[in-house]
Structures are given as structure tokens and as C-alpha cells.
Amino acid sequence: MLKIKDLKKVYGTTTVVNIPELTIEKGDSIGLIGNNGAGKTTLFRMILDLIRPEKGEVLSNDMNVADFEKWKDYTASYLDEGFLIDYLTPEEYFHFIGGLHDQNKAQVDETLSGLSEFFNGEILNKGKYIRDLSKGNQCKVGVASCLLQNPQLLMLDEPFANIDPTTQIRLKGILKELNREKQVTLIVSSHDLNHVTEVCQRILLMEKGKIIKDMQTDSNTLKELEEYFSVL
């Protein structure tokens, strides 16, 4: 699904991302962890072709993301509020995103009605612009707009950070189901080790721009990770 070759990003004198080689297979569910400044968001942005790497390339289905735009057909992502068009109402935004994937309003509304439990009555028909929603509810809008696109690759940057416990549990359920039932490739970052180890089968641990651990999740993973972070 994704191949990263010799990827490097430098700001001034500090190297923020330096990944010689990384392959992500279709159907993988990846948990990306690491302390602040480890380079998680920068990596996300390079995979999404938002910043230009100094060196190396990201191949999505064997096509360089910087040269082809095909990846946009099957990749959905939510990194931060900068992805949302904040002067729209959530409904308008969903219809807009759906329209980009040639879905008409009825189709979008149908998908949304399936998400009513996830929204918990906080998003639809509230008569508010996205900019007037709380951070947690904005995150819900971002995640829902991803689900709407029926992606094969789904990337979320710290989706659990601002949402309430109920939504966290529901989101974990949705992600696991997408991965299991539809073989959607997931890349999710989080600071909460419990969440990632629960959702993801493969954990990538970043430190100072490098991936220093790449492991399959098992019963010892959480303990191992906790040990790593406590001695750091």
C-alpha cells in the first residue's frame, strides 16, 4: 500500500524525519507513537504531500504522491482543524466532501444516518458553523468526513485527544471494524498507549525523526512501551 524510501526532512539544522525504509501492507493497522517533536505529524504531512521532503519519496500503490494525485481517490485523513472548512455547517461540509467523490446528497445523508451513534446528537441539525463547534466536535466532523469517503487508507493524527470517553470507545470500535471487515489500512497516532495497542496490530515508535521500534502487538506490548517511555 505505502512504501517509504530514504525519506528525510530537515528544518534548519535539525532532522525532523529520517526514515530509510518503511513498507505498509494493505490491511495493516499501524499505531504511530512517540513524544512531542518525534516527527509524527511531519511524517503524516509528507505522506499526504503537504510538505516537500528534502530527500526520498513516498509511494502510494507504487505511485509517488508528489507526482500523481491518484492517491486522493482512496486516502482519507484528518490531522487538524486546518482540514475543515470552518465557515460551513457540518452538513454542508459533508455534502461538499461527498460531492468530491461523486456522491449525491441522499447518499451522503444515508452514510451520516449510520453515524448518528458516533455523533451522539452533537453534530447534525444544530444550526452552527464548524468554527463554533468545540474541538472535540470538530474532530468528530473530521473523522466522519473521512469515513464518508470509503477510503482504503485512513490516516488520523491524535483522534482520541479531544473527544469524550464514549466517543473514544465508539471510534475504536469503528476503526477496528473498518480494518477487520473492509481491510482498510489504518495509520493512527496517539499519546494514549492503551488506545493504540487496543486498535492497532503494528506499532511504530518514533524518536527524533527515526523509527526506532517496529513491532507486532501482543500481550506484552503495552508493558514494553510503558517501560520505554518511563525511562526516557
Binding site: 504531500d49 503537504l50 486546518g82 472548512i85 465557515y87
Partner: protein, 492 residues
């Protein structure tokens, strides 16, 4: 504490992403301000001559007295348009052990640092020293100055108070506008008892008994406290920054819907314009330019010279393109990442801009048809410059948009907002205004004016017909520049 606030503000200004980057811009701003100041000083030094010329049958001081109240009335209207509420975001201070009085005091004091505060003094002081001091003495001078200080302070805090009230209740705005219009009409229809009459009565009285001026000062101080009390009682976040709580429903633009994905993108940008403060006021101001014709066409001599023939239609037809287009794509800076990662074709992205430009230029063209009253040639020129704007100006503006990396906060006010202004905006004006003249003038000098006009029309038309070629070039450049643009727009 006031000093600490001031230091924070100072840092906030200089460290914000948009200021301090380009020295050229700072120099230009300084030159512009100095120029304005020089104008005021010039006006002030020759005020006695101007007054003597305007009212030859009265003595200068009486005329000065008679216009003073007009000044303050005018000041009130201009302030209402331009003056901004003090912008320090108080949010980071409200929960700290800082007395409310201090915050409110700071907000009041800092708001006084504006051109409005000093301009009446610059405008009157040289005149007063030159004319009034020798005739009436120092006491009279001080009395007049105190009165100016009082009324100026009153205007200042009255407008602040009014604007805050108006945020919560739009009736205040209506009342104010009706009152202003009422005074204007009254003055116009009953000239015998007009404002100038009251103005001279008032100020002649002050010259005779200077302590009357204290009344004006009292008025100013009272207004300060009214504003102070109001602000102090309402220093809650939700009340300072009101979002209208009325329920918002979705809007549709059937006109652009038929254009498919391009239409969707254009509809998105129309919503951007109508739902955000700064783009809305920018576009509204752009639409005001359709009254340009009233200045140019009413004078037959101007109407037939190049300014009237080429410049005025160029500006009226292209008002939206230049005023709104100059900040592209900065308007979309807050969600530019979202545009890049979503399935939006760069071609469609640019085509939507063309659609938007066409929409507004067509509206300008239709709205200015009544100018045909001043002659058919004007309508013809409107049409030709309409073609020109669609064919050429759009390309110029979008070319510069690819070089604009300045973020814009949509929720801020429009006037005197320098955010998002960079070298690109200054440079853009040069080709936008010069190129049409460069094509038109050579023909005109050789005596073939009509050929010059035809050349403009033909080039405009060629621009429209070959648009896809230029579009491909713009998209290619955009794809190269998008990382840089996105980085400039990101707010971190």
C-alpha cells in the same frame, strides 16, 4: 500592569507571522503615513486662507467657529466606519489575579492610540497659534483646545460604546444612522438654523467665557465612564465576542450549481465571502466602485479623456477581481491543507476562480448599464473593459496569487487591516493598471484612438479564448509552489 499589557501587545504585533517580515512594506507604510500627516499639516497651515476663500464675507475666526461642530459630526461618521474596538485578546488574563479595573482601563487607554485622537489637534493647532493667539490671547486658545479635547474624547468613547452595544443589538446601529441622516437633512433644508449657526454661537460663547469649555471636557469624561462601566460589567468572553446564536440554515447558489465540481468550489467561495467579516467588507467596498462613473462621467471633459474612457471602466468592471483577487489564495489559508489533501483537481480549483471572477464582473457590467445615459460609447467601453478584465486581468491576478504566501484571518475587520498584505499586492497593481494604457496610448498618440480601443477588445477576447492554455501554465506553477503556499498559510 498597564505597562506589562503594553509590552505584551507590542510583542504580539511584532512577533505575529505577518508583521516584520518585509522591510519594504514597513517603509512603504511609513511613507504613506507621513504623506497623510504632511497633507494634514499643509491643510492646517493654510486653513485661514481656505476659510477666507470659502466664506469671504465673514472673519476667519467666526468661520472657524462655524465649521467646528461639522468637524465633530463628520468625525463621528468616519469613526463609525473605521474605528476598531481595542483588539487585545483579554482571554489569557481573565483567570489570573489581575483586577478587572486594570484590564478595562488598559483597553480604554490603548484605544486612544490612533490617528483619530491627534488629527483634530494637528488640523487646528497651527491655525489657532497663527490666528487666534494674537487676536484673542492664550486663555481663549486653551479653552478651544480643551473643548476639542472634550468633544474628541466624547466621540471616541461614544463610538466604542455604540459598537459594543450594536454587537448585541442591531437597533443601536439603525438609531445612530437615522440620527445622523436626520441631522444631515435638517441641516440641508433649514440652512438659516443650520449646525453652523449653533456652532458659531457655541464657540463665540466659549471665546467670551472660556470656562464653558469645561462643559465639553465633562461630556468627554462622562462618556469615558459610561463606556468604562459598560465594559467592566460585560467582561465575559461570550459577551465580548458574540456569535449570533440564531440557527443557521444551509444556503444554495442555484446559479453556480450547474457547473458541476467547479460550481461546487465556486459556491464554497461564495459562502466564504458572505459568512466572514473581512472578505464580506472587502467585496462590499469593491461593489461601491460601481459609483466611480458618477465622478468621471458627469464631467464631459473627463469622460472623453483616457481616464474616463479606459481607467474608469477598467476599475468598475474589475473591482472584484482586484480587491478580492489580490489576496488570493490567502482567503482560504485556514483550510488550505484540506484543499490539498482532498480530491480536488487543481484545474477545477483554478476554473472556480475564473467562474467567480466572471460572476462578479458580469454583475458589475449589468449594474452599470444605466450609465448609458451619459452616452452609448460608455456602454461600449464597459463591454470592452469587461472582456479585458475577464481575459487579461484574471490571468494577472491568478499569476500573482501563486506567489502569495500570506495568511489571512477571516474573522478580523476589513479597514486598515494589513494582515495578508505583502509585496505581491503592491506589485500586482502595476500590470493591472499599466498594461491597458500601454496598449491604448501608442494608438492614441498616433491619432487612431478607435484602433487602440479595438486592440484592447481583441486582446481581451484572445485572452478569453486561449484561457485553457494559460490555465495549464498556472496549474503547473501552482503544483510547484503549493508546498510553499501551504507552509505560509499554516498557523504555527
Amino acid at each position: 500592569m498597564t505597562i506589562t499589557f503594553f509590552v505584551h501587545q507590542w510583542k504580539a504585533f511584532w512577533r505575529s507571522k505577518n508583521t516584520g517580515k518585509s522591510i519594504a512594506l514597513r517603509v512603504l507604510m511609513a511613507v504613506f503615513l507621513l504623506y497623510l500627516l504632511a497633507n494634514l499639516l499643509f491643510l492646517s497651515f493654510f486653513l485661514d486662507k481656505i476659510l477666507a476663500g470659502t466664506f469671504p464675507d465673514r472673519d476667519v475666526i467666526t468661520s472657524f467657529n462655524s465649521v467646528l461642530l461639522y468637524y465633530f459630526l463628520f468625525d463621528l461618521v468616519i469613526r463609525y466606519q473605521m474605528q476598531e474596538l481595542p483588539t487585545m485578546s483579554v482571554q489569557p488574563y481573565l483567570h489570573l489575579p489581575i483586577k478587572r479595573n486594570k484590564i478595562v482601563n488598559y483597553l480604554s487607554v490603548i484605544s486612544l492610540f490612533s490617528a483619530f485622537t491627534i488629527s483634530p489637534f494637528i488640523l487646528s493647532l497651527p491655525f489657532l497659534i497663527k490666528v487666534l493667539l494674537p487676536q484673542q490671547g492664550a486663555v481663549a486658545l486653551i479653552a478651544i483646545l480643551i473643548s476639542i479635547l472634550g468633544l474628541n474624547t466624547f466621540n471616541h468613547f461614544f463610538i466604542l460604546w455604540l459598537k459594543r452595544k450594536e454587537n448585541l443589538n442591531a437597533w443601536f446601529m439603525l438609531l445612530f444612522l437615522i440620527a445622523m441622516a436626520g441631522i444631515g437633512l435638517y441641516d440641508f433644508y433649514w440652512q438659516g438654523q443650520s449646525l453652523s449657526h449653533y456652532s458659531s454661537l457655541l464657540y463665540c460663547a466659549i471665546l467670551l467665557s472660556p470656562w464653558y469649555a469645561a462643559g465639553h471636557l465633562l461630556l468627554g469624561i462622562t462618556m469615558y465612564f459610561i463606556n468604562y462601566q459598560y465594559l467592566r460589567g460585560n467582561l465575559y468572553l461570550e459577551e465580548l465576542y458574540t456569535n449570533s446564536s440564531s440557527k443557521i440554515s444551509s444556503t444554495e447558489f442555484p446559479l453556480v450549481n450547474r457547473f458541476g465540481k467547479v460550481g461546487d468550489l465556486a459556491a464554497l467561495e461564495l459562502k466564504l465571502i458572505f459568512r466572514n467579516k473581512r472578505p464580506k467588507s472587502t467585496v462590499m467596498k469593491g461593489l461601491l466602485f460601481i459609483f466611480y462613473g458618477l465622478i468621471f462621467y458627469t464631467n464631459p471633459q473627463v469622460a472623453s479623456n483616457p481616464m474616463g474612457l479606459v481607467f474608469c471602466p477598467l476599475f468598475m468592471m474589475g473591482a472584484f477581481i482586484i480587491t478580492y483577487g489580490q489576496f488570493m489564495f490567502g482567503w482560504q489559508s485556514s483550510h488550505f491543507d484540506g484543499i490539498l489533501i482532498n480530491k480536488i483537481d487543481s484545474n477545477d480549483f483554478f476554473k472556480a476562480k475564473f467562474l467567480l471572477f466572471s460572476l462578479f464582473s458580469t454583475a458589475s457590467f449589468l449594474l452599470t448599464i444605466p450609465y448609458v445615459y451619459f452616452g452609448w460609447k460608455i456602454l461600449l467601453m464597459h463591454f470592452i473593459m469587461y472582456l479585458w478584465n475577464l481575459g487579461i486581468s484574471t490571468l494577472i491576478v491568478l499569476f500573482f496569487a501563486n506567489n502569495n504566501y500570506k495568511r489571512i484571518d477571516l474573522s478580523k475587520k476589513g479597514s486598515f487591516n494589513w494582515e495578508g498584505v505583502g509585496a505581491s499586492q503592491w506589485l500586482l497593481g502595476i500590470p493591472f493598471f499599466l498594461v491597458p494604457f500601454m496598449i491604448y496610448f501608442p494608438f492614441k498618440w498616433m491619432g487612431y484612438e478607435n484602433a487602440g480601443i479595438s486592440a484592447l477588445a481583441i486582446i481581451g477576447l484572445i485572452g478569453i479564448l486561449t484561457r485553457n492554455f494559460w490555465l495549464a501554465l498556472l496549474v503547473k506553477k501552482f503544483n510547484k509552489k503549493r508546498y510553499q503556499i501551504a507552509e505560509g498559510f499554516r498557523n504555527e
